[in-house]
Homo-oligomer: 428 residues x 2
């Protein structure tokens, strides 16, 4: 295939007519596809239905240390659930607090607490004129929403296949005391599926921030979410690296089983240093009597050990892999060599990131929508919803079936081609 | 019996010797009793174990409107759970948001949101020099802890058997713009078990607060927690009364099933006006993708309707009533007419409130502890843990068995007598 940029105006016009006709055909099909969010599929959820049998009316409802999970008590998670989450998050159980059903809520609460109470004795952020966070881009829209909600200024930091641009991160945090944090999805990043290299993690751990209350928000959402048996990304334990670098308090790690058992009905956890966890516990004793220990116990009884989690996730991978491969196959076949898009090939996680020609993302998403396919809004992967190049589109292949993903991707590449041709024609 | 105040010094001294000997005996028994918190008993929890069978691997996991509860989606509660909580809270389902496992967390989050974002457009409280709340006393220590945590000043308002002193409430809220709220447990109040009269509720609804962002925090924790079939307190629906009075936005109602199904593993809800709920939803979309819908569905499938909730709570009452009656019988028999204590006789809720002679509560709690019985800390029922009269003690009869409650109350009255005699001797 010839790159679109090399086509003459006449060739482009003829191509446009051809693509427009195909698009009208596609619209006529009355498709109803949703690739907007990173949701588990029905097959993944069905696979875990035996979870519902793990506790019944005859079950012993006590933890290993004899606590009745049906009653009040135990602020920061039952011990066995701490071990399970520690294994998933790659940390020690002593460094873990198990909370409710969503790591997003823990992240929100962590920022909210910093706003009203500061961080280990620092000035509450709501008393400061300016608070800023670094945001590797593209990134996760819900992280950015928390920032906007609290009026925290976001600074874009470019992502690379090895993680954020660390030169820029090191320089900015060292010089600006108003920078209080950075959002990271270190493994199978959202949306690119990149995993931070060992060097990146070590450079994070060795940061010398101007602000004593600077924290790394390490959202390890896809810790065990590999797509392949033989190609698995692993990242260094940031907590250990921070300790080694004398920065033990500099990181909060977040994780959950939302995409392991049930989305929105899993258990979530935060891992950090003792000093940070003590501060969290201090505010937790005010905010709650304790989280849902029955669900914590269900998770432990269901999995028993970390090996079972990994086996379970291999079954997830079997369901998800064909969908990712279908998307990649169609992207390769249909767009390879055309010069109108680039995409990532992640080994895990929930997304493929697509970069269209500059100025095309919004139009592509809108064209897809018109033909019955919902994508994550263009710009959503950037702070304030503003992708400076209007280029990035997040593809979420997990929820639809493989057949639906095939139809969806075919429609997607059609829209990419059509919008790209129109863009190139504008410029002729 | 003669009142202790009428005894001569000699009589008091002889009584003291007798009581001290009995106390030494009691201490020798090595008791280990806990009346400190309002926890359901094991019998109550066992009674609900069929809850664990209500959903199994064969269950249809969709809501009545077809949503898969195992996946993301539905921010503010599945419709059928809203109806269930609305029935329990005595409001319309349209006015309800169902959240996670604890109403305390909803209350905390509501105050936290007001701190950082204000209330329906008002100045965020963290930007104000002073924020105050009215606290009917004695009251619930965890409400007061939220206030202390956020540096909100608490003003004591005396409770009466009909509710807070409304003359004082009306006067204070009308004159002081820094008063932003009041904490109420309107039914079977914690700790006295008082229920607000219709007049009290109407006066609340008709308040004319100086602060537009003044809100009534209506913690209807014991809405269906009656002890008797034939003596049940009912309160007016504050939301309807507020609407009638042109104060639709002035109240948040909180409730949960923590003491209906399982403590800490129930579902919690907030009820309010559409404007208030929209503001809550706006911040919820940032804080969470949604709460645990599987547990919401379990609750709905378990109870099916409100009649079943009431039947369930009648069984709770059968378990709890003998404990309350045991405490009251021993208090009546042992302390009646002695002039050294007064106590409440609630028709529901989780507590009996005891007022010792002034200056005796701390000493009584401490004496009980020394003999192996933990009570809620003296002073805990007051803001800042400071009972100005050092008189109030909260008795929580629910968790121990009836036999344990009998032993506990006998030890309690012994300590009351001993401390009272010592107090009277000091004054001689």
């Amino acid at each position: 295939m010839k790159a679109y940029q090399e086509l003459s105006k006449e060739e482009l016009l003829s191509l446009q007519a051809q693509l427009a006709a195909a698009y009208e055909d596609a619209k006529g099909k009355g498709l109803k596809l949703d690739m907007s969010r990173g949701k588990p599929s029905i097959a993944q959820l069905n696979m875990a239905m035996d979870f519902m049998d793990v506790i019944n009316s005859e079950s012993d409802m006590r933890t290993e240390d004899g606590v009745d999970v049906r009653n009040y008590g135990v602020l920061d998670g039952i011990p066995e659930s701490k071990r399970l989450m520690a294994d998933i998050m790659g940390v020690n159980a002593d460094n873990v607090i198990v909370c409710g059903n969503a790591s997003l809520t823990i992240m929100f609460d962590t920022v909210a607490r910093s706003m009203t109470h500061g961080v280990l004795g620092s000035t509450p952020w709501c008393k400061l004129d300016r608070v800023k966070f670094l945001c590797p881009v593209p990134g996760y829209d819900r992280h950015f929403s928390i920032m906007e909600y609290f009026g925290i200024e976001m600074i874009n930091v470019p992502m690379t296949p090895n993680g954020p641009d660390m030169d820029m991160v090191e320089r900015l945090v060292a010089q600006d005391e108003s920078i209080k944090g950075i959002w990271c999805v270190p493994k199978y990043s959202n949306p690119q599926g990149y995993s931070y290299s060992d060097e990146t993690v070590k450079r994070f751990a060795a940061l010398k921030p101007a602000a004593a209350d600077f924290r790394i928000y390490w959202d390890n959402a896809y810790a065990v979410h590999h797509l392949y048996d033989d190609r698995q990304d692993e990242i260094l334990d940031i907590l250990t690296e921070c300790e080694k670098a004398g920065n033990a308090d500099m990181v909060y790690i977040f994780g959950s089983t939302s995409k392991v058992t049930f989305a929105g009905a899993g258990i979530a956890a935060v891992a950090s240093s003792k000093a940070n966890l003590d501060a969290i516990r201090k505010s937790m004793t005010i905010q709650t009597i304790g989280y849902d220990k029955i669900n914590q116990l269900c998770h432990v009884r269901y999995f028993k050990n970390f090996e079972a989690v990994k086996a379970h996730m291999r079954k997830h991978a079997e369901i998800m892999r064909p969908k990712f491969e279908t998307v990649l196959r169609i992207l390769d076949n249909e767009l390879g060599g055309l010069g109108i898009g680039q995409w990532t090939r992640p080994n895990g996680g929930y997304f493929i990131s697509f970069d269209a020609m500059e100025g095309c993302a919004k139009a592509i998403v809108s064209k897809c929508k018109e033909a019955g396919m919902v994508l994550t809004g263009a710009g959503a992967t950037y702070p304030y919803g503003k992708d400076p190049k209007d280029s990035n589109i997040r593809i979420a292949p997990t929820f639809p079936t493989t057949e639906e993903m095939e139809m969806a991707t075919e429609l997607f590449v059609l829209c990419v081609k059509l919008v790209s041709v129109e863009k190139l024609l504008e410029e002729k």
